[in-house]
């Protein structure tokens, strides 16, 4: 990891990033840039694939909203080999999901240059659309140090409890949390550091700018404090089957959480298969045995199966919860139970590309207590 500094004119951090992306494209280092861009009236921001540098003028890499998990988009964009490189602007959780999907061979990172910004948290799409133009402009200029309390208290619950708001293992990291009104520190991964420095005319240094570590630490500490408090209460509520069923009571079985999850990549999911198209008399026989049956069926099984399949790789992005029509706290469920599973295997999803995901690997000497007769 190496370091550099990017200049900011007139305190406009978003404009500085637009300029950086434009240079990447004009220099020919990449042939396209994937970056959030507002639609006509600015109330909605979508990911866009830009090849014409002119089209980078209005982009908003800092926009604090995440309509889709971009790891899914990168999976589509790299399904077949591409010529030339694509630079992808990702939230840190999108980067982690991308790395995780690369491990499952669902993203090919060879020609993707990852760019990721320190993340102050994101608003739900509807919440962002409801903001005034001034509020949205303000949200594009986060203060160094993350001292914007209003934003910190209004972003999505999954963001408020996110303890990994800093990109890890990124090709080009943008240190929004630190720096000043006229500069932002950049970090460069070894893979493209030299080429990026040339394309962006950067002066490379080996050491991290002063103050960066302290700013990050303080920000992460605030998040962790909230996370421990929120998950502590949640874990108590879901410590019994009845408690968990209460938490899941508003679930209508629409499977939206699964449909938007970046880690749930299976092309054919068992829950969409004929396995769950039961015969009519089957429902009646279940109802007869229990006297009464909740329909649609299999609420608990759906969530527990998803947890056991991909809880170890959950990056905590919370798009599941945002996609839920009834505000079931799916993200908290995965943060709490998935977090326990990740601790079990000392695994941090999306952190180290060289470490295999727990469900795709094993050790010969482990978990002896699970099968005690060996």
């Amino acid at each position: 990891m190496r370091h550099a500094t990017m200049n900011v004119d007139d305190g406009d951090r978003n404009a500085a990033l637009q300029e950086l992306l434009t240079q990447l494209l004009r220099s020919g280092f990449v042939q396209a840039v994937m970056v959030p861009k507002p639609l006509a009236d600015g109330s909605a921001v979508v990911q866009s694939l830009v090849v014409d540098p002119e089209q980078l003028k209005g982009v908003t890499p800092i926009a604090p909203t995440m309509p889709v998990q971009s790891a899914r988009i990168l999976s589509d964009l790299t399904r077949t080999p591409i010529e030339g490189r694509i630079a992808a602007v990702l939230k840190p959780c999108e980067l982690r999901a991308t790395v995780e999907l690369a491990k499952f061979l669902q993203v090919d990172l060879e020609n993707v240059v990852t760019i990721s910004l320190d993340c102050y948290g994101t608003y739900d799409v509807a919440q962002y659309a409801g903001m005034s133009g001034d509020e949205r402009v303000g949200a594009l200029q986060p203060l160094a140090g993350g001292s914007n309390d209003a934003q910190a208290n209004q972003v999505r619950e999954a963001c408020r409890m996110c303890s990994r708001p800093i990109p890890i293992g990124v090709d080009l990291g943008v240190g929004l949390l630190s720096g000043s009104s006229d500069s932002i520190p950049l970090s460069l991964g070894d893979r493209f550091a030299d080429e990026l420095a040339e394309a962006l005319s950067l002066k490379i240094t080996e050491s991290e700018p002063e103050g960066r570590a302290t700013a990050v630490e303080a920000f992460v500490a605030r998040r962790k404090e909230y996370r421990d408090k929120a998950l502590g209460g949640f874990t108590k509520e879901t410590a019994s089957i009845d408690g968990l069923m209460q938490t899941l009571s508003a679930c209508i079985g629409c499977h939206n959480c699964m449909a938007v999850c970046p880690i749930c990549y299976c092309k054919e999911c068992v829950f969409d298969s004929a396995v769950f198209e039961h015969r009519s008399d089957q429902f009646l026989s279940w109802a007869k045995r229990k006297g009464v049956l909740r329909v649609p069926t299999d609420t608990l099984m759906f969530h527990l199966t998803r947890l056991s399949h991909m809880g170890t790789s959950c990056v905590g992005c919370g798009v599941c919860e945002s996609a839920c029509p009834n505000d079931v706290p799916v993200a908290s469920l995965f943060n709490s139970l998935g977090g326990k599973l990740q601790e079990m295997f000392e695994y941090v999803p999306g952190e180290d590309p060289t470490v295999d995901p727990p469900v795709a690997s094993f050790k010969e000497e482990e978990l002896v207590e699970v099968a005690p007769n060996e």
Binding site: G243, V270, T299, L300, M301, L304, L337, E364, V370
Partner: protein, 140 residues
């Protein structure tokens, strides 16, 4: 009142534990008839969804039996099964379900007696635990 007779669903691998169960039978070893066996090619093919389904639809316990570590017919299926079972047990224990209703055991084709003993022990344990309440929850 009749004594509680637990139902056990057993997922056994074709190469080791199923053959071991067969040996228990041909050796005329006695073990409780509470176990219903499902033969799979490998414990690595046991998805957690099978176990959950069994526990929610009337099983009081689930036994998963496979080849001893290092002996898997498909090299590593049993190691992968062990991770999946560990994950499922952790989830279930976190939500207050007694994860000791799920047993993963290594029983080879020559260990007919171990199979009979394991079933006997498991049925005894489940009798002490009593019926699995989850099967009667209507709103799961």
């Amino acid at each position: 009142m009749d004594q509680f007779e637990p139902k056990v669903i057993a997922f056994l691998c074709n190469w080791c534990t199923y053959t071991g169960a067969d040996l228990a039978g041909t050796s005329r070893l006695q073990y409780p008839p509470n176990v219903r066996i499902v033969r799979l090619m490998c414990t690595g093919a046991v998805d957690t969804i099978y176990v959950l389904k069994a526990l929610m639809e009337g099983a009081d316990g689930v036994l998963i039996g496979g080849c001893h570590p290092g002996d898997c017919h498909y090299q590593h299926g049993n190691y992968k099964a062990r991770r999946r079972v560990a994950i499922l047990k952790e989830i279930l224990s976190q939500i207050g379900f007694d994860d000791d209703r799920i047993w993963l055991r290594w029983i080879s084709a020559s260990e007919g007696k171990l199979f009979a003993d394991t079933v006997t022990e498991m049925v005894g344990t489940l009798k002490e635990k009593g019926p699995n309440a989850l099967q009667n929850s209507w709103a799961v």
